[in-house]
Symmetry: D2
Subunit: 470 residues, 4 copies
């Protein structure tokens, strides 16, 4: 684990790590290293083998500065002052007293004047998407989403000493509870039954009587981490002597095999009905006389035959399952969920965001600086774009025009003409290598440049060197 | 086949047959006999084995009166005069000349003054739901729907001599073309490809060049029948010397195994995701890097593993397939599609429609005539009602309050309380036997009578004898 | 008043009157005579001067048969048996006991078996649109609507002896309570305040304490009539010795000057804003500082100036009021509300409904019988059609394709080309005179015939003699 | 007019003026002074008497720096780089060449790389709401809206030398064209007809042939102003030797007497129909026989009587016109349209935005600093809030939570309890005076403080001194 040296300040460690990461060539490698930092000293491989979706993991560091720089209450206060934080949208005020969970959001903007008043009177504060307000949280999550292959989100929780803000419950996401300031007392409980293991929807609030005995009862201190698979019930409260600030990083909401099958099955059945006459043949004319709930107690051999036939057809569906197309549906949704990449200065300067075209001394200058055959390009991040077919047309979906506010923008894509798909695939598969525009497999030099221009203008690719007039 | 004897008039034959059928105790048996009359001299069993959904069947009778009484152009004229027939809703005016198919419907009501003018100028007339206007057609279809276990519909076609009203096409239903008057020249063609066999949607109009050579080229005369499975292309035109009137009886629209699977699969997947954690486990965190269309050409062993896993889950879905519940969904739709039963005088007099309660001499009389323990009851028709569970409540769906106009009424059902379901099943499974109200498996005598009253009031059951005051 | 002579049966009197009316040349004259019969021996002129919208009128006849034939409980029973009467749609079952008003409608069809059971247990029955089931009621209302220039509707009320079905209330329509059978005790009360005089919405149910003392306390007997202007509170109950059947004929719902102004004012303002710059000039830039509720207590001369200016503009609106166009909007709604005309045999035979085109002996005959220049035509009823302009196009709205069920059909109209409007006006203004097709002010003989054909096909006009081939 | 002295830099002048304005006690006075600066050396009074809504006004200054600091192309470039400017939403790329007007917006974000490329190729750039991106424009408009009593908006136009970006047209707003950089040649034309004077909707693009001869043909230079009333057609193009940057400040869209009547009239009619029986009386039963378009040529004295009656009722409407309530409807819409106030540092520090409650050294501090009886308060701006009644409840509408993006937020209001309305009116009418919380006309000291707290928390009021703990 990276250490903050002797007398070093924590924020500098995370800052240094994030700066180091900008020098890592491949964004997937960056994501792995950042995740490694999160769960250090555990290894990625053992974590995914032993804990992920299986059991809680507690990491105690005795290093209160380990996560420093990620977020702080000072940052919280600054955001309230500077940004348009709305009660109920960006911030929840909650309490859990004598077994009763309440929300106290007034309407309108959350300003320090009212927020700190709630806090002083014992309410917990939950900031709902700190990534919209904090560049560091945005940066961290936008990197981690490439690790998970699923949206990475976050909430921040600030709890006064001696209080509890939420009732016992379980979530529908994999949760990394990162203790940032103070201390928090956590109790964790096993899923109550097999049916509540790895749930796809969050639980209601539980009473203490419903949840049994904790399997874990710990006090998290600043620098510690607690990982909880979805379905594990948990509750946290502050000791009388310290407030608590933590951020929960989450992922894998509705990202199960079943969720994929929800895309696969309707498409498989549609295809089977089109291509296989067995699916179009009529039902037996008398099937209503022996099938259906009113006949389910009947001993009738025709019932077995009927059910077997249905099962045979389900089995046949396997051969019509359009798995890649269904994955593309999931991928499209993922790219819509994604945060836009938080670009480094170098990435900016080599992309459209840093292009030198500008207004200067009463005229537009450096307007002629554009793509050429020898310009070397690549995707700006491995996961920034994806080629998907919906059967008729091919689109390149991309994340660069997404908002830091979840789904504020519609899904973004550009239609890729048939003669350009090879070139786009070429770019995708060559990542992280830069390739010359001239090497794109297009018919004409003009096509190569115009495709490269299009992708550059959308921020999807950058160049090996900032574009110049030469 | 029933014959119309010496000098008998056709209409009397069908009339006699329908009267005879009212004496058949079991409505399913009635349906079989009427279907037998339709396809006579072919046997039910051989027909379904050799022709149904497989190949056309031509029956020539040399008996122009065989189907007489079912419908006639005189009836057509009477309906125009008496009923509110609307162009475009109940009647289409069409032509097919020099390869061009046209519809000539004006807005508003179709009266003889304009309809016969269209006919005289060479247009074909298609009446879209004669069952709404003709009691005989209603009666015949309401009986046949019990044979098919799927809605039976009909269109009537009147074509002037020397003309053709429709372009070559295929339908999405099993069709029985019944020649009623005059003659019609038919050409029938094989489905153009495997994908068009037993289609689930009708074809567009074809040009002559698209359909190949006919496999059948015949002239239907009054009394003849031509059965066509869906997917077989056909066109009919009138010879210069005779007009044609035929009725096409149809069934099995969207009644395929695939249509059942459209109900089964979403429910199976929902259940599997609830009950089996394998379906809730997360996808591999790196699956987007090797799956999806942009990776479909990659040789990557992880692709095979991934697809195998999906296939394994599909196979597992078989054990979660709620076949009976899915059949009930189909059944509910069928009962909504159904015509209401066309009751015989005897059925009327022993049901709520014939109850003697009435206004007479300034007062309501016979109001006290109601169900008693010894009253014997049964369903008024085998297919008139069906018990279906939607998981939470149990409903009895029924057809008696349907309209003769397709889907004019909402689906009709009554919720059956848990303590009454056994009694309703008892009634259903005892059909065609009458059972005493007292024998219903309910807790109290009061329950038995109130359930019987409820079913009687909806017309779902009738009594062995008309209710009397005694 | 027409008498039913010695030993005559009442129904024959109304029947004879209606038959006589078919011989009256002008449908407006027919409407006046039928209304005269209704209120006889009062004169039309004095009734509208002294009672209409002013005060109740009681007519006692001592002639129980006077209204016989209009409707009866026997007819009620027949309708239940024959027609599809739905609880809640066509029939309400109500009671008013111990000051509590209840509705007892079950779902579904109302059959004698259940209806008479409700009646026997003391419930009142209200049939909501008897005109859909009774040809006589239809005929009477379709004639009266031409008298009122506003939709004429009806409800039928059957009440068991010794009961009351409804709470005290007032209606939003002019009501003619026609006692058909038995007796009913009525109490009528003045409107409770000036604001409830001639109300535009019906009242809620009142308690006895809210309505004061009756101004009228009478027992209506068969043959009697009670007219109530809207706003007069009333309640009726049956004496212990007799049931009651009455029909309430109603009109003038939302037919006030204010309702017309609701059409006039938006159009007037739109026109003024287009044509008069005074309406487009800007408001004073400081008007918000002295106008508005928060400034309404200020003494500020600018307030008076402002209000005066608004009043001046309102006054100016008078000169932009498109009264005729607004009347046309009302007329369009009236024609949509109207019952279709109930045609006499003679009207039928001289209109499209009686045209001789028909199917006979295997062919369409009399198809060539059509309009000629010398054919004499007129509107089939004065109020059957109306020419309205919506500013852009001119449409002829008509009632012949309306349904006997209120608003079951969309408003019916045909666009009248500019070159045909004079001819249509010519027809309208010449009613009740017949005019030759050749005399229509159209450009060409062809135009005259095609316009006449169009109107004839819609049933809007009829001919002086049934069309023949000659 | 304020001058920029010897060697002064323009931006400093505007900056100094805006700083001076923060010291003006009354925001309405501030608005007047800023407007005076805009039209200087013309006087406010003469401008509104002679030019406003009447005729164009040209002001030549020979002082290119007069408006400096309001906006610049450098600012334009900075915004493109920093903010999320979307083509089609915030920026339009247009051209007008050879009489053809085109828009060239691609989808997505507008970055300098593409924007300056369009500009270089001869396109004009229109930034649609610079107030969302420029604090100075926001500040200026938020002050001016108090002058106009109607929303003040702005567009910025950048045009390359030798080009024209827009076709001749007129607008539906009062326009102040402020030349910021370079020069622009303008031609102005009279409204084409009386009907196009002070129009309520903008014109389509005109061809040169449709607009006649200009009444004004000038070259605006930096520092000049051209005022155009709505309806005056105009077109501007750049001379070959200079680009042009101007900002158009606009107001008075749909702010006419007619627009007020659109609120007044429906309410007046509704009230009249409720309170005056003359409006509820029925129409003459025969009115359809002499009124309506089909009777409009008839000479019938009843027509005159009818029209006179309608006119009499319209006249009566005057006495029911709820002018103040209608003004409140307009005011509510205005407050929704308004920009939020751009607060000075002093305003911030004395309002909720500057409250000292904050997070410091691990705890919330200064939370106890709140309103007291002796705290002196007033509205933060005259126009920041308005008390409106909708007949049932009284609401205080306010602008402080509006967005700088038009209508991004819903209308903001708080319901004012009956016992607090006097206190709110007291505050409104005392502006710009500060009043002690204790002096508010409320029943209890607690009420006074809680009302003041509420208004303070919404940013509607500020205090005479920043709140302190003392």
């Amino acid at each position: 684990c990276p250490s903050n040296g002797t007398g070093g300040v924590g924020a500098e460690v995370l800052h240094a790590l994030l700066t180091d990461l900008t020098k890592v060539n491949n964004s997937r490698e960056r994501a792995s290293r950042l995740f490694q930092w999160l769960i250090c000293p555990n290894q990625d491989k053992t974590f995914f083998r032993d804990c992920w979706e299986k059991k809680p993991l507690l990491i105690r560091r005795q290093n209160p500065d380990y996560y420093q720089g990620l977020f702080s209450t000072a940052e919280f206060d600054r955001i309230l002052r500077t940004d348009d934080v709305q009660y109920g949208v960006n911030l929840d005020v909650t309490s859990y007293t004598n077994g009763k969970r309440e929300t106290h959001n007034p309407p309108g903007r959350a300003l320090p004047y009212t927020v700190w008043d709630f806090y002083e009177s014992g309410c917990s504060l939950r900031m709902l998407n700190p990534q919209a307000f904090s560049s560091t949280v945005w940066n961290v999550l936008s990197i981690l989403q490439e690790k998970f292959g699923s949206m990475a989100g976050a909430n921040v929780y600030l709890t006064p000493a001696g209080t509890q803000g939420f009732a016992p419950h379980y979530d529908d996401i994999e949760a990394f509870i990162v203790q940032l300031e103070g201390k928090k007392h956590w109790r964790v409980y096993n899923p109550r039954s097999k049916d509540e293991a790895l749930p796809l929807v969050p639980s209601p609030n539980f009473s203490q009587a419903e949840i049994g005995k904790p399997i874990l009862d710990v006090v998290l201190e600043a620098g510690d981490l607690l990982y909880l698979p979805r379905g594990f019930i948990h509750q946290g409260d502050c000791l009388p002597d310290a407030h608590s600030l933590h951020i929960t990083i989450s992922s894998f909401q509705r990202n199960s095999w079943g969720d994929l099958l929800l895309k696969v099955m309707p498409a498989a059945l549609e295809m089977a009905m089109e291509e296989d006459v067995e699916f179009r043949k009529g039902l037996p004319i008398d099937y209503l006389t022996f099938m259906g709930v009113q006949n389910s107690d009947k001993e009738d051999p025709r019932r077995d035959t009927f059910v077997s036939h249905v099962e045979g057809l389900i089995k046949k569906l396997m051969s019509y399952a359009p798995v890649d197309a269904a994955v593309d549906q999931k991928a499209r949704e993922f790219l819509h969920d994604c945060l836009p990449p938080a670009l480094s200065e170098e990435e900016k300067s080599s992309s459209v965001y840093g292009a030198s075209a500008r207004w200067e001394d009463g005229e537009a200058v450096d307007v002629a600086v554009r793509m050429k055959g020898q310009t070397k390009i690549r995707l700006i991040r491995a996961g920034v774009a994806r080629l998907c077919s919906d059967g008729e047309a091919v689109h390149l979906y991309y994340t660069t025009e997404n908002s830091r506010v979840y789904h504020k923008e519609e899904p973004k894509s550009i239609e890729i003409k048939a003669e350009h798909t090879d070139a786009v695939e070429f770019l995708i598969h060559n990542y992280p290598k830069f390739v010359a525009v001239a090497s794109l497999p297009c018919d004409s030099a003009e096509d190569k440049v115009s495709l490269a221009e299009l992708l550059f203008e959308k921020g999807i690719i950058h160049t090996s060197e900032p574009l110049t007039t030469k």
